[in-house]
Amino acid sequence: MAITKDIVGKKLDRFDFTVERGKIKEFCLAINEKNPIYFDVEEAKKAGYSDVPAPPTFPTVIMFWGYPKIWNDMAELGIDLSKILHLKEEYTYHKILYPGKVYAQSEISDVKSGRAEIVTFRTTIYDEKDDPILSAEMAIFIRKD
């Protein structure tokens, strides 16, 4: 099934997520990040942070753990999950992402169809005061057989 431009602007469900220090630690261990600012609040404070910060690519954790429904949404859009490859990921940071409650809202921001099908999702992550912490753009490429 071909993907069409009709889905551009479609919003996915808003979701809440709690960033936990333990999850930051687990993520850092998985990527071999050893800087103590990500593990120890005191070390983070010494480096000028108010708590352990989440490393630059941690927002992916919020998206997958916070919104596992993305797979169903993609399948419903006609995307064959066995054929997708990640094409692009971009983060624009407004604030440091710290442990605490956040919420996120994604929408489909672009579709390229034809020989190569590319779908782009834009997600903004907000703090509890509704201030944006960061925005993310994820583009996926759908392989042809």
Binding site: A47, P55, T60, V61, K83, K88
Partner: protein, 139 residues
């Protein structure tokens, strides 16, 4: 970590590279659990083969996270304004990556100093797996 000094970096200057250990299945299983990305092309060799791949491939985001480690080893995370990559080739098990960075642009506008770095993950043959920009606020 010290802030990036605008006057002390030059276009073309390179960052100290970061060598990543060989990517093994266990790295990807662990990354899947930590990140929540359980797409079976990264953790199920049979599924990956049925999907037309030689075997499981790395999460692109695992590679991007390694590029991110170079970024935060060079700049204070508080000063990072933008970090984005394009994935150019699949990373397979057994590959050994090196993360490199080269100052691409220096820019001053309205008293705000910005440095852009081209950051890339390459394998031993020099094939670029992911490449993009890191934008850092400088002083």
């Amino acid at each position: 970590m010290a802030k990036i000094q605008f006057d002390k970096v030059e276009v073309g200057q390179t960052l100290p590279p970061l060598d990543i250990p060989v990517i093994e299945h266990a790295n990807l299983v662990r990354y899947a659990g930590a990140s929540g990305d359980f797409n079976p092309i990264h953790n199920d060799p049979d599924f990956a083969k049925k999907a037309g791949l030689d075997g499981t491939i790395s999460h692109g985001m695992y590679v991007m996270a390694q590029v991110g480690r170079l970024c935060t080893s060079w700049a204070d995370q508080k000063d990072i304004a933008y970090f984005g990559v394009t994935f150019k080739a699949m990373t397979k098990l057994g590959e050994k990556l090196t993360i490199v960075g080269t100052i691409k642009k220096k820019f001053e506008k309205d008293g705000k100093k910005t440095v852009t770095v081209l950051v890339e993950a390459k394998n031993e043959a020099g094939e670029v797996k992911a490449g993009g920009d890191l934008v850092v606020n400088a002083v």
